[in-house]
């Protein structure tokens, strides 16, 4: 097989880190919101206020094979802002892939299903996903005429619904307050655009299913 056209190996350009900077500043902006919540806790060490409210590890869901994430909860845990680093290893793809995503989740309902189990059944979320590499551009490269392509391979967004079961697992032996197991089902704009007007594409083909674990502070 000819490989003379194969493009240069993927490199992380400084401009690729723009989104990281954006996420960083976004987190900086929202941290003061968390102060109200953390003040009620008994933490005497001030820096703990800045610790994320939870860490996550997600499998699949379109944002990576395995994606570690951190985030903050607001409005009595009704709203979450999370960011993930997603990695796709070579054993599930021709090339390994690195990406980051920012995710906003609204959690409308919750109920207790036992003494130590809380069910959060209907979460709705939006995410924006950025894949690193020169071929995944965000701004149309300058060698193209204006508006030659209308989308950006490097950054696309989507929506999802999900559910979560919170348990006290890890709560007794570690500083964590508990562990949640969650699932999510979503799709992204580029897939929805492909499905539009095409009955021949099965709906299941545009669905990104993922699940993961959250450990809460």
């Amino acid at each position: 097989m000819s490989s003379k056209y194969q493009k240069a190996p993927m490199k992380l350009k400084p401009s690729d880190f723009k989104i990281l900077v954006v996420i960083f500043f976004l987190l900086l902006c929202v941290i003061p919101w968390t102060l109200g919540q953390t003040r009620q806790r008994t933490d005497s060490v001030k820096y703990k206020r800045f610790l994320p409210d939870y860490v996550k590890m997600q499998f699949a869901g379109g944002i990576g094979f395995l994606s570690p994430g951190v985030g903050y909860s607001f409005f009595k845990q009704r709203f979450e802002v999370s960011c993930f680093y997603g990695y796709v290893p070579e054993f599930v793809s021709a090339d390994d892939l690195h990406s980051v995503s920012l995710q906003l989740t609204a959690k409308f309902f919750r109920f207790n299903a036992g003494k130590n189990i809380e069910v959060v059944p209907l979460n709705i979320g939006w995410f924006i996903h950025h894949t690193f590499g020169h071929e995944y551009w965000i701004k149309l490269p300058s060698y193209y005429p204006d508006e030659y392509y209308w989308w950006s391979p490097g950054r696309n967004s989507g929506v999802f619904v999900g559910g979560e079961v919170k348990t006290r697992f890890l709560g007794n032996k570690t500083p964590a307050s508990g562990t949640a197991f969650y699932v999510r089902v979503g799709s992204r704009g580029l897939y929805i655009a492909s499905k539009f007007g095409n009955a021949s594409i099965p709906l299941s083909d545009i669905i990104e299913f993922g699940f993961g674990v959250s450990v809460y502070r």
């Binding site: 194969q6 071929e135 005429p145 697992f169 539009f196 007007g197 021949s200 993922g210």
Partner: protein, 272 residues
């Protein structure tokens, strides 16, 4: 009391089982993950072998489609129509099988074309090269420039999407094209197929004269076929007598058929 379901060991077992299932395309890891199964790999070469195993009568009939982009339903209709016509010997797709260059769109496009009863060949289009589409094409269809000889006719498929390679000067690879057209005993005529025509901004304007000149060098090119513009037209650019055939994109619910006999060829349009 803890139920069996909540035991960590049991949860871990469930997690591992799901991951194992996940390795068989159940889960999405990224829109750019390329994990094609065997039937979606090396498709052009497999179809060349399939074609070589068939016998040809005096008249060769080829159906052309292309620019299928996000017109998957139309592509499916096209496949159905071709399968009803036993005269068609094989099908050529003139590029842009994946609108956003996504591996999943390659899979959708090929899942439609693979239902064809006859062999099919896909040339690379500019949309197929976006993101890691170039790699998806290499995995699914093979080399960007390739050729085969059938019934004493050489079919030459060449990547002409210069803009996607930043007008690097070697796309299209004119020296490769010249080498392919050098007359041998194995073929008497040649048909050259590509996606972007020389008149388009996607084609490196500094190479278009050389490209056209090379096509006429050995006077053995019967005609050339391209897509990219989605409509149908037969024209003669560069004040020459070489026939350029622009074939219909799938969204017009029409396709072109070219019948080639010993002494002539005929181009017709069929609706679906």
């Amino acid at each position: 009391m803890k139920t069996k379901m909540m035991q960590p060991k049991f949860m871990f077992f469930i997690f591992i089982s799901l991951i194992t299932v996940g390795c068989e395309n159940t889960f999405d890891y990224s829109p750019y993950a390329i994990d094609f199964s065997e039937e979606n790999r090396n498709v052009n070469q497999k179809n060349i072998e399939k074609l070589m195993a068939t016998e040809c009568d005096d008249t060769l009939t080829i159906a052309f489609t292309g620019d299928t982009h996000n017109f998957f339903d139309e592509t499916e209709l096209f496949v159905g129509k071709v399968n009803q016509n036993p005269a068609i010997d094989f099908v050529i797709h003139v590029g842009d099988i994946a609108d956003f260059g996504l591996p999943k769109q390659f899979l959708w496009g090929n899942s439609m074309l693979s239902k064809l009863a006859v062999p099919y060949f896909v040339v690379i289009g500019n949309h197929d090269l976006i993101g890691n589409g170039s790699e998806a094409y290499l995995e699914m269809f093979g080399a960007f420039d390739y050729s085969f000889i059938y019934n004493k006719i050489k079919f030459v498929f060449i990547n002409t999407n210069s803009l996607e390679f930043e007008y690097c000067g070697t796309v299209p690879d004119i020296r490769w094209l010249e080498g392919q057209l050098i007359p041998t005993e194995d073929f008497t005529k040649a048909i050259v197929i590509f996606h972007t025509p020389p008149s388009d901004i996607g084609f490196d304007a500094t190479l278009s004269d050389d490209f056209h000149h090379t096509l006429g060098l050995y006077h053995n090119v019967l005609f050339v076929v391209h897509g990219h513009l989605h409509h149908h037209e037969i024209y003669y650019p560069f004040e020459g007598n070489l026939t350029y055939v622009n074939v219909y994109g799938a969204e017009h619910n029409k396709f072109n058929v070219i019948q080639i006999s010993e002494s002539s060829y005929e181009i017709e349009t069929i609706g679906f």
